[in-house]
Structures are given as C-alpha cells and as structure tokens.
C-alpha cells in the first residue's frame, strides 16, 4: 500500500508545507496577542492599548499577505489534491 501523504522530507514541497503550517498558526498568534491586554489591569490607558491592538492587526495582515502570496503558486494545482492537509 502506498503512503497516505507526501514523504516528510520531500524536497519540492517541504517549504510549501511549512508555509501552510504558518497559515495554520496565524489565528493562534492573533488570539494570544489580543488577549495580552487583559493581563494589564487597572493602570493601562485606552489610547495605548488601542495602538497595541491596531499594531498587532497590521502585523497579522502583512504576515498573512506574505505567506498567502508565497503559497499561491502551489494552490494552482488543478485538482486540489496538492493542498491535502494531512501534514507531515
């Protein structure tokens, strides 16, 4: 029986699969970063926290745009099987 997915160290797709890992991590990163302000109780100012939240927002957008544009080449695979996400 053939292996279910690509070999872990398959050269051609290794970087692509790591990019997908990056995309998967984006929401986790966002959740953690946007929960941080809750830790600072009492003293913080709305203005400062607002700047922090928008800063995180911009970082997330830029990262996501970078990763997605790198991935798009791979997403051109016609049948979509190249996007199988049972990762190794």
């Amino acid at each position: 029986m053939p292996p279910a997915g690509p070999v872990f160290l398959a050269r051609a797709s290794y970087r692509q699969r790591r990019l997908r890992d990056g995309i998967r991590m984006m929401p986790m990163f966002g959740i953690v970063a946007w929960m941080v302000p809750l830790l600072s109780s009492g003293q913080a100012l709305t203005g400062r926290i607002g700047l922090y939240i928008f800063g995180v927002w911009i970082v997330l957008i830029v990262l996501s745009a970078l990763i997605t544009s790198r991935m798009s080449r791979d997403a051109d695979a016609p049948d979509g099987t190249a996007l199988t996400d049972d990762s190794v």
């Binding site: 984006m26 929401p27 809750l38 600072s40 913080a44 203005g47 700047l51 830029v62 996501s64």
Partner: protein, 904 residues
Amino acid sequence: MSVGINLIVVVSLVYVAFLFVIAFMAERSAARGENAWLQSPLIYTLSLSIYCTAWTFYGAVGYAARSGLEFVTIYLGPTLVLLGWWWILRRLVRIGRAQRITSIADLISSRFGKSTALGMIVTLMAVVAATPYIALQLQSVTLSFAVFAQQDNLTWATDDLNAAAIWVAVGLAIFTVIFGTRNLDANERHSGIVIAIAAEAIVKLFALVAVGAFVVWGLAGGPQATLDLIDASPISDWQQSGGRWATLIFLSAAAFICLPRMFQVLVVENTNERNLGVASWAFPLYLMAMSLFVLPIAVVGLNIMPANTNPDLFVLTIPLSQGQEGLAMLSFLGGFSSATSMVIVATIALATMVSNHIVAPIWLNARTEGASISGDVRKVIVLARRLSVAGILALGYLYFRLSGGGAALAAIGLVSFSGAVQVLPALIGGIFWRASTRIGAACGLMTGFAVWLWTLFLPSFGVDAALSSSVMMNGPFGIGWLRPQALFGIEGIDPLVHGLVWSILLNAAAFFVGSVLSFPTPLERLQGAQFVNVFEHSNNAQTWSGNAARAEDLLIMAQRIIGPNEAQQLFQTESTKQGKQGYLPDVTPDFVNGLEKELAGSVGAATAHAMIGQLTEGATVSVEDLIAVADEAAQIVEYSNQLEAKSAEQDRTARALREANKKLTALSVQKDAFLSQISHELRTPMTSIRSFSEILRDGGMADQSHARFAGIIHDEAVRLTRLLDDLLDLAVLENGQVTLHQQTGSLDDLIDRSIAASGVPTGTMQIIKTGGAAEISVTSDLDRLAQVFINLITNARKYCAAVRPTLTIAVEAKRHELTIDFIDNGDGIPADDHAVIFEKFARLTDEGKAGSAGLGLAICREIMERIGGTITYLPGQGGAAFRVTLPATAFDEIPQSSSLLAGQ
C-alpha cells in the same frame, strides 16, 4: 440653506437607481459569459463587507462612546476566522462546491443524511434570529432621515418614522425580488447583487474614512492631538472585563461563519477557492480601516457635541454641526449602503432557506401524487422565494413597529448574533467529526435555541415585556435555578456572557451526547465521510443503486425543476454518452447521482433527495457504495476506477450493438407482419372489386343498384391507389430522387393550412397553438413540410384516446434551431416502441382503427431528412408528442415592421 430632507430623499433615490444600473449591467455581462472580473478576489473581498452593517457603521461609534475599546472585538473575531481560513473556511467552500450547497440550512441538512427536519429547524432559528437585526437596519435608516429632517426644523413624529421605514422596506423588497429571485440559478449565485454590495462596500468605507480624517485632522488637530484627547476623555481608562472581551471575540468569530447572509457570500457566492486566500488578508485590512477612526470620532463627539446628543449618530451629526454638508451626505450614503446591502443579502439567504426547506417539502407532502405529477415546481419555488422576501421584510418591519425602535432595539444586535451561532456546534462537528449524527445535531440545535430564547431573546424585549419581572427575579413558577439571567443559581455574570456561554455549552453537550448515543443511518455515514474527508475524495460517491426509477419519470420531474430545455439537454447528453439515441438514457447510479446534484442546486439537497427517492422507491445506499468511500478502501476504489475506465469503452460499443440488434429483430418481426398485412390490404379491395364487377358483368339489376355497385368499385380503387401512392412516395424519398421546391412563407399560415387540410371535423378535437409562429417565416419545401404537419395532426385525431382530445402545437425559435412540438393528451406511446415508430413497417394499434398501412411517420421522417430537419418522439409530455426541428438556415424572425405591414 442647509441640506434638508428633500435633498436627502432625492440623493438616496439617485443612489438606488445607480445600484440598479450596475446590478443590471453585471447580470448582463454575466449572462454573456464575460464574468472574469465579477469573479475576482477583489469583488469577493468587498462582498464580505456586508458583515459591516448599519449597526457597525453608526453603532460602533456609540458603542465606543459608552464602553471604549470593547467595540473592536466585533471586528477582531472575523479577522481571526479569515486569518485561519486554512482551518474552516477552505473546508466549507470546498464542501459547498462539491455538494452544491445553497444555504447554511442546506449544509446542515445535507451533512446529516439530507434530513428535511434539520433543514426546517435551522431555517426557523435563522428567521427568528435575523428578524430583529433587519428591524435594526430599518431603524438606523429612518433615524438618519430624521436627523436631516431636523435640519429643516421639522421634528419627525413616530408616524413619519414609520412611513419612512415602510418605504425603505418596500424599496428593498423590490430590489431583492428583481435581482435575487429572477431565476433558479443552478448555483444560487447572483452577480447583480454581488456587484451592488461591492459598490456599497466601497461607499461605506470611503464615507467612514472621510469622516474620520475630517475629525482627526480637521477638528482634533492631528494624530498626536487625537491621542491626547482620548487620554483626557471619559473612556480613557482601560477597564475591560476579560470575560466580555473573550466572549465577544468568540461570538463575532462564530457569527461570521454562521450568519446566513455571511454563509451566502462566503460559500455560496464563492466562485473560486483562491479568492479566499486573498480575502484572508484583504478583508482584515478592510475591517481595520473600518474601525481605525471609530475611537477618535467617539471622543471628539463626546467633546464637542451637546451632552444629550445620541452618540450612535455622531458619524452624521458631527459633520452637520460643523457645517460640512457634503461630508454629512456622504456619511448618510455610507450608513444607507451598510443597511441596504445587509438587508438584501440576508433576505435572499433566508428566502432561499424558507423556500427550499419549508415550502418545498410541505408542498411535496401535500400532493398525494408525489413527485411525478404534472405542474411546474420551478414556478412554485420562485413564487415561494418572492413571497419569502416580502414576508421576511414584513416581519422586520413589524418587529420595528412592535419594539417601538429606540434603545431596546440597539441592544439586540449581539442577541441576534448569539441566536445565529447556535448552528456552530452542528456545523463544526459536521465537518470535522464523522460520528456526529442527525439525532445529535437536532438535540444540540434545539437545546441551544431554547436556552438562547430563555436567557437572551425574551429578556431583550425589556422588563415586563415578554417575561415579567417576577420571573426574572425568582424564576418561572418560583423555580430559582431557572432564572433567565442566573441559570443553575450562578449569579452576577454579565447577561450576554451568561446567555451565550450557557446556550453554546449546553448545545455542544447535547450534540455530543446525542451523537454518541445514537447510530447514523447509511446515508448519514456516507455524507459524513464526504464532508469530513472532502479533500481526500472530492469525486462523487454513489448514493443510488438499482434501476427502480424509469428514465421517463425522472425526465418529467427534472423538466419541472430545471426547465424543459435544460432537462432534455441533460438527458440527451447522458444518452449520447451511453451510446444511445433519443432522450432516455439508462438509469445508472452515476446518472441518478449527477441528476440529484443538479436538482439540489435548485431546490436544496433534502428536497432533491426526497423527490428522487419517491421515484426510485427507496433504493438507497448499498453496502458496496459505503465501502467505496471509506478511507480503508481507497485502493479498491483506485483499482476499480482503472477497470471501469477500461470497460467503459467496451460497454458503450456493446450497448450500441445491443440496441442495433434489438431494432433489427423488432423490424424483422414487424416486416413479416407488414407483408401479410399489405397483402391483406391489397386483397380486401381487390376482392370487392372482383365480386362487384362480376355482378355488374352478369347484369340484370335495377339502375339504382348498378350505380351503387359502380360507386363501391370506384371507392375501393381509390383506396388502392392511395396505398400505392404512399408506397411510391416513400420509395422516391428513400432513393433521394425527390426534387425540393424552395418557398418562403409564414409558419403560422403553414400550420393553419395543415390544420384545414387534415380535415379534422370541427368539435371533435381542440387544437391549441402556442409560441410565436406568426413572427416566423420558413424557407423550405413548404408543401412537403405541410405534408408532415398534416400527417401528425391526422395521427393525433386517429390515435388520441382522450375523452376530450386536445392537440397543442408549440413553436419555439431557439438560437440554432426551430422546434415545432405536436403534443396530444392521449395515452402516448410506450417507451419500448419509441425506437420503431418511424420505421416504415411499424404500426402499433390494430389496423381496423387506423385505416392506413402505417407509412405516415416513415414518410415524415424521410421528408424531414430531405429538407435538413429532424422529427423525433418527445417523451414525458403527458401524451404522444412529436418534435419537428428545422435548422437555423431554414427560418427567420419576421421583422416587426413588415409583419405590421402584412397585417394591414
């Protein structure tokens, strides 16, 4: 002179007209197939912006003025969902495309064994949750009208507000009906609507950014000064409740997936999976831009506006108070866009759900004949959809009236979100957990919905409105642990957090326990595997086995749902693929599956499945089919695919050979029968001619008898001649020796002439002509064509056994051909005989009734072949039906002017 209410009304009318025009143009270019730009990632991203409703356009500033930064959670949730598109959205879009999903109710229903009941539950929940939200949009538009009325020093009374609301609702209903329910699109995509909401997305972003820029640089004096203002304002302290912060982010994230209108733009209107990749960063950018200036506007508003001003309308009132009337008008259009785009898409999504999951199943059940009766389902569905649009908007308006507008309504936005997200456990469970079942989903949905009604929806009407204050304080019948805002006696939680956490937790628990304790039906297991492993096998699994349905029944049903032309085309294509002729392919499982998906695109999975189920008489999934989709059997599938590919070609050849052989055998039998019959035909008149001429020869009779016998001899001779003429005619046609006399004439005249010449006595058969025969001129051998028509009309008179025979002659000019259908209301021709009726030795009924030798249709076929057309039997029309087809070169539409002249 300030910007008054009249100017605002004119501006909004012009704006709406502009939307009509671009929606119309988009539909036109989509119809022409020039839709590449309509399907671009940019349009897709902009269409997602219906998430930002009037509640967020106006209300976010009010929210910020009251609670500081908390407003931003409403945008953070969707941002996280889009950033994590690889997890959920990509899966949903793939499933939506593979299964032809039409709405979120369809997704749940389809996943859990195409269950009609689940579709109904989700639809009802969605309507209840969305109604207050639609009311909220109507309120925001009327309030903004009222602001401009004040500029004219008019103070609007409640009546004026109500009148404005009803006009807005009627206008929205018209727009939605025109562009949202024009036809039953196989994919439920609406290019006109999508382009209109994309345009509105730009308008509202531009408006909010313009007001924000004016406030920051025009009023506050730059970014640093704005920050100082924020630090000096009443909302400067960060006093955020952690529970609310996390809950609201979760709520808005879940709502972004579960709201019917978001599902519509995210999944149903998605034309290309890759658009999702671009939207994953572009839409968060849009959201960030929408929320960037909210806090500055709120703070500046609190600073410069009088204390009693409604902060919800700061976006409008700040520019007005500074004399910036152009900006105020832009801001008004932004709010107007936010409200209208949300209402339009929400109404379409809900109307699709109501018509597919409530009206269609009830209508099907109410007809005892089941799915195979006559009538057009399409008309019912489209009508139901239009009525639903009107009904949903009417509900929204009613809610607006009953709630009396005001602050009570403003609080309902989050409550409405909480109702919509009750679908989340079933949705997430359905696409990630194969073992989740229909029972579990129903338990979860109903539990969640009930808890939501009790803890959030009913209390939202205010104290003593829906629930009395004693129930709120002491619980129903004094049962303390059932208090709506302190379930199980746990007090002191924020009401929204309380209601949402309990409803989702109990919902998920009921879903899990119900799934674990019940057992999925075969269809659920199959659909479960299809949904959960959508990336492993996007190919279609077989759901139907057996050959119980007859192709003709399926054709009749398909014609009523996707339209006669499309259905005939579909069946003919399949037939050709199988190596057969005509409109009726073999009913293979593949074909039935394909047909079901096609129908599901119009009426939803559950209804399509039920309709096909009625015809295939319960032949459902076989064990082999289940094995074929299971992961463990992937290699079996692979192997059998290869075998199948090899044998498909052989199959086709064998089927063609079998058909030919069957035809030959049937013909040989018929030929023998015909020979004995033709001898009989020739002998009968010969015998009487011989005997009567003998009598005449012997002589010795009265003159009267003499004349009578001579008459009989003459009649029989005429009959003989006619028979021989027919045979000769056929021989000439078959040998291609015939010369054609090309003429041009009106099709209508030709048909009338044929009816007159066929000698149908008045009163015996009713003949109805439909279609535009009068506007078509035909260039062909008109005498020969008339001969075909006469033959078909005479046949209908002879063989139509109905009590009140009716013949319908339907003319339709298509792009490449002209079809003329002759349809009677008799018993039709059995499917087994379709193959032989055009053969010259064929005759179906006994000879005594017909009085001819059965050459008519054979002659017709030869004539049509000579003049470049065809004649075919058209099954599934209720009686015998023949279709005469002429090529595009043989007909022309008569220009309007010349037909007028001809009329004079």
